[in-house]
Symmetry: C2
Subunit: 739 residues, 2 copies
């Protein structure tokens, strides 16, 4: 009986089990489609750990060595070599991207004539040449001897042969020439200026109205070398400081993108404006020289001592007056003559593009880019960034090729051409693909000069990106420090107190056009960031790393003086890559809108303090702007609450997408193509460049500054207030309940 009962129980159990199995597997019910899991997948922290561990400093070093084998100025043979290198790496079957290709633009560049080198001479009244400035930088290593090293010149300076008395004009700011003009007749003079304080081209543009006919520019050892001058033991190759013959090259135009094809991608048959219609370039010849030559000229100048703040590091008094040289000097009564043979040419410049296609939302892009072209070897500018980018793509590419990873969103890598001539490659790219990039891009990450120095991280970007940068920086070890994160080190150098977050690292703003983020920020309104490792300011006052744009910015310089061991490069690769993966993989786009609100409130408070009183006197109300900022704050708070109270992984993917779209498109709402009629391609009302130098809404600050000179300008202040208020209200609508 027991046996029968047991058999019965066993049979019953078997039948029940069969039933369960049939019920579970055999009876159709609406089982979840396979994509339900995919669409809800969030960023994988273990993958980030794996990424961080695989980023290799020696790989970066070897990337740099290869990139800096020869000079690679835009459109030269050396540039083409780097194009081929990028393509080879990105098309590598083991460690490459899904696809990589080249895109070309026919762009307007400016070069010195190798057959007729530019000349700066001191010429006596009897036309004897008393002094000739160096034509090329002094050779310390074989690198400087390469015939492909471009002679120092000012790109887009017109050719010409001005001759006149020399006068020292400090930094060539409008106020400098104005001050000088009070005591010196500048007509027919040659001005010598030092770098800093004003844009390169501005030094000539500001000079011309006073009748100045030519300009020299040099780097004062005060501004770049902490005062040091001697190449016997003080400057490169003994240290990172600029040798006396070092010359900062550069583009002397003040816009970005190809100058002949404003707002249009520079394809072969694209309409080009007449060359004479170009604005923002020097109207008179200008030439950069080394401080060795500047010393020989400035210390012989006549007149009275220049103001204290005009004095540099030379062991002589910088005089203003004359104009011209001291009578007691060897150059007495002599002129300075510039013989500039620069010429312009349309040339094909290449961007190299690569993509990793997104798995779930291929129509959402995270873009990562850097320019590829340099002035000479460009070890730091830009090849430090390119070496980092190549290491990033190697590690990510390998994971993709091995089938271990595919990002949720698509990643686009851009190796931009002709940045040094005015951010041309990136600007043309955004012009060509304006609509699809505008509609689909989550963020742009720019790593140009990856390492200026090895003290600390520096980051600039939209406030909405602050949070993801913090998160990434906390997960990366600071180079050269034990158990300190990049974040913990960073906060010691750059910090502020935030209402919402307390004591945090200070993320800067991208209000200028210093690198390829410009078109993304200003023209497209895409959340962007620029990150690098940089100086300990208690240790140097150098304007920038001293070999910047000289022939000395080579592999030896980078590996010996900037980042021996390449661990700062590694830290940047890890930090930027971590941010990149989070932007590409997070279920919720990691853009924080409340952090944006904080910036708007700061701007508003400053604006109220600076302007409200005078505006009230003219019956211009700031209330619409206050209401707009308040609407923005309230919409941001609300959206953050919605996000916090949602179980996003179990929401419909369209709900997550809706929120992500709100976050992605927030910055687009700040664009107004009519907000800055005088600023080429500036459309973002919060981040546009401003000459007023106030930490507030740029258009408002500039319009307000103009009221000092023109009384009719109050209309423009009121107009811009309305533009600004409407844009901020529009941004609030973007964040608010969608209907």
């Amino acid at each position: 009986m027991i046996k029968q009962v047991l058999i019965g129980i066993l049979c019953g159990a078997a039948v029940l089990t069969a039933g369960i199995l049939i019920g579970h597997y055999g009876v159709t019910k609406s089982s979840a489609p396979s994509w339900v899991k995919d669409v809800a997948k969030d960023v994988d922290e273990s993958l980030i750990e794996r990424f961080l561990s695989e980023v290799d400093n020696i790989q970066i070093q070897e990337n740099l060595r290869e990139l800096t084998k020869v000079p690679h100025m835009a459109t030269t043979a050396g540039d083409e070599q780097t194009v081929q290198l990028m393509l080879k790496r990105w098309q590598d079957p083991e460690t490459g991207l899904d696809q990589a290709w080249r895109e070309e633009y026919m762009v307007y560049l400016s070069f010195p004539d190798p057959k007729k080198p530019n000349k700066v001479t001191v010429v006596s009244p009897s036309d004897t040449v008393l002094y000739t400035a160096r034509r090329k930088e002094k050779t310390y290593t074989s690198d400087e001897d390469d015939p492909e090293v471009v002679q120092p010149y000012a790109a887009y300076s017109p050719a010409g042969h001005p001759k006149g008395k020399l006068v020292y004009a400090n930094q060539g700011k409008p106020s400098d020439y104005q001050r000088l003009n009070n005591t010196v007749d500048l007509r027919g003079t040659i001005a010598i200026t030092r770098y800093g304080g004003a844009g390169r081209g501005a030094k000539a543009i500001n000079a011309a109205p006073y009748g100045v006919i030519g300009v020299l520019v040099y780097t004062d050892p005060l501004d770049i070398n902490d005062g040091l001058m001697s190449d016997i033991n003080e400057t490169f190759p003994h240290s990172w400081y600029m040798p006396p013959s070092g010359v900062e090259r550069g583009s002397f135009n003040d816009k970005f993108g190809d100058m002949l094809t404003p707002y249009l991608a520079a394809k072969d048959e694209t309409y080009r404006i007449p060359v004479e219609n170009i604005t923002g370039i020097p109207p008179i010849p200008i030439q950069p020289i080394g401080f060795e030559d500047a010393y020989a000229l400035i210390c012989k100048l006549g007149g009275k001592a220049a103001p204290e703040e005009w004095q540099g590091a030379f062991n002589c008094t910088y005089n203003v007056g004359g104009p011209g040289f001291q009578n007691s000097s060897a150059f007495s009564n002599s002129d300075v003559k510039l013989d500039i043979f620069n010429y312009e040419e349309k040339k094909n410049s290449s961007n190299v593009m690569g993509v990793i296609k997104g798995s779930v939302e291929p129509d959402r892009y995270v873009i990562y880019g850097n320019h590829r072209d340099s002035w000479v070897y460009g070890a730091i500018d830009p090849s430090s960034g390119t070496s980092v980018m190549l290491e990033l793509t190697r590690v990510l590419g390998k994971m993709v090729k091995q089938g271990k990873w595919r990002p949720r969103r698509s990643i686009i890598f851009g190796s931009w051409g002709a940045e040094e001539f005015g951010l041309i490659g990136s600007a043309e790219y955004t012009e060509q693909y304006l609509t699809k990039l505008s509609h689909r891009t989550i963020a742009y990450i720019n790593v140009d000069i990856a390492v200026f120095a090895n003290a600390t991280l520096r980051a600039s970007g939209m406030p909405s990106l602050q949070n993801v940068i913090f998160k990434a920086a906390k997960q990366v070890d600071a180079p050269g420090l034990d158990s300190t994160s990049v974040y913990d080190n960073w906060i010691k150098y750059f910090n502020r107190t935030s209402q919402a977050h307390g004591f945090i690292p200070n993320v800067g703003y991208l209000s200028g056009a210093g690198s390829d983020y410009a078109a993304f920020v200003h023209y497209l309104g895409i959340p962007s960031m620029d990150i690098s490792y940089t100086y300990d300011r208690s240790k140097t006052n150098a304007r920038i790393y001293p070999a910047y744009h000289t022939a000395y910015d080579n592999f030896e310089y980078a590996s010996k003086f900037i980042d021996p061991g390449f661990t700062s490069h590694q830290a940047i690769a890890r930090t930027a890559g971590n941010v990149l993966i989070r932007l590409a993989d997070s279920l919720l786009v990691p853009l924080n809108c409340s952090d944006y609100a904080e910036t708007l409130e700061d701007y508003l408070n400053t604006a109220v303090t600076l302007y409200q009183h005078e505006l009230q006197e003219r019956n211009i109300s700031m209330e619409p702007l206050k209401r707009a900022v308040a609407s923005f704050r309230s919409a941001a708070t609300h959206l953050d609450q919605v996000i916090r109270s949602s179980d996003l992984a179990n929401e419909t993917p369209l709900t997550v997408r809706r929120i992500n779209d709100q976050l992605m498109l927030l910055d687009r709402a700040f664009l107004d193509p009519l907000a800055f009629p005088d600023k080429y391609a500036y459309r973002h009302v919060i981040w546009a460049s401003s000459s007023a130098g106030k930490s507030t809404f740029p258009g408002l600050a500039d319009a307000f500054a103009n009221t000092e000179s023109q009384s009719s300008a109050w209309d423009k202040v009121h107009y811009h207030l309305s533009v600004l208020s409407q844009a901020i209200e529009g941004a609030a609508h973007t964040l608010g309940d969608v209907i």
Copy 2:
């Protein structure tokens, strides 16, 4: 034993069943989340049938009766009554929308002075008034006696008192004044013009350069009444024709939106341009009069017979010359004097907004709108459309309130204010909500005058909407015809042969700014359509229905002469509602990109025929444009293939969303805020207005036309070719593979 076996089998079966049940319901497996079905839901055809059957002609008639009780010119008490009506209906708990509210803008309007009515007189040399034109239209029904009937005037005509010899200037086109000026000294004259051929304000703008000091405008019976003139038996109230005293009022400005706040929503504190900076309004006084008065003036004019094509329907010869009256006439040597007392005022105008919130994609909008304001009673313009909109919202609102339906996407209804003064309410709305509307709107449907006449459907819109209009029109019965669909009737009146579809109804283009679609099409690049029932052109040559903008456009007129029984209104409500539901509910957004390609190819072929030869002579290549159109076609074909080969209901919702975004954003890619620097708010390179009158790319046609007068204009042709090619390439990128 049998019993035991039976019990055993029953027990076994019971256990098995229990197991199956447990297995099916009790054991967790990844079952589909509830939203999986929702996100894949497509339009429900039975719901459309239900909608069609519930649309009621008598309801529409009663809507119209209520809307036309009193005159409701923008910002008057009558306008406020219609605001209240809209709010009441849309907030009705049984048949209303989810939400409805009012939005106000402070806009710049122009009115006649009720205390100092405008006057047109004939004055003898001795200052005797020989003739005075009617100050108001003749009374046939009590309607015309309402004190709120605004006297005939030209909105935005300046006040003034010009007096001079009268001269007939045909339609006041540039060519008309030019021709006249060959034989007549126009300085100091008053021109009398007939409606048609040129915009209202243009008749004065074109005149002023010749020294004309005032303009009259009237409607010639030839153009509106098929020649008929007598109110004894021929015109209203005996027929639909305009009585002799009828006057077409109108706005005489040539832009859209509030004139003082270009590109900015006209809020109280918004910056306003100085009134003297307004352009596009008459520089000299202008006044509309009835043909009764025009007859008394024109038939007495001296000089020689005007050209044949200048002659109207009066039983006299229209003379040009003099200027002034025949010596033999009672007005010999007399002047015509205008006393215009119009004044401008900023007034609050209201839009009434209502929404039905979308269930699955609330962040995608379909917008349906019409203006609410009229010149007088506005039974046809615009209340026929508003009656239809109210019936639509009643039927849809009821389904929503009863819980029987909620659209996939959100629907926004707009009852725009101050359209008659220049599409102001809709334009301000788009300015205020620019970014969120740009980012989220699938389409805009405009039904202004729903029924011009009861012969056939007429539809205009982006070619991508053609398909959904066809689908809807096939499902609606044509009014007054047995078993004929609106589609089958339509194709008899408007048709063409398409390469892709063969013989089909012809959908027109929205290249002008004739109604509130203007800002949506031109400024925002939103796929838009405008539909109505209209004339049998074999039966009338009337420019427009004859009571247009007169006091006679009242309920009696509409119900007796335009659509007795309101079945054409019903057909429009059904057709527009069907389109609306499909746009809101279809899983795949019903926008067909290949149909857009067909239009671009037609435009290109025309452009090549018209321009290629001359362009080649100037070394301007059309190849970039040809390549762009070919790219567009190929991207469209490819996307259509992707759609056809996809099982969208089983795809991830993000894949469907991606395709829908491509279709939605296609038109945005055609926008370029810099494409038409001289055309306010025109940004769409395909649909902008054009004065060249060619069926091709408008900016290209206009630029080409300008080369006749300025040789430097070839640069502008080349420039616009590049703008256009880049925009079309951008549109192709939008449709192409997303990465």
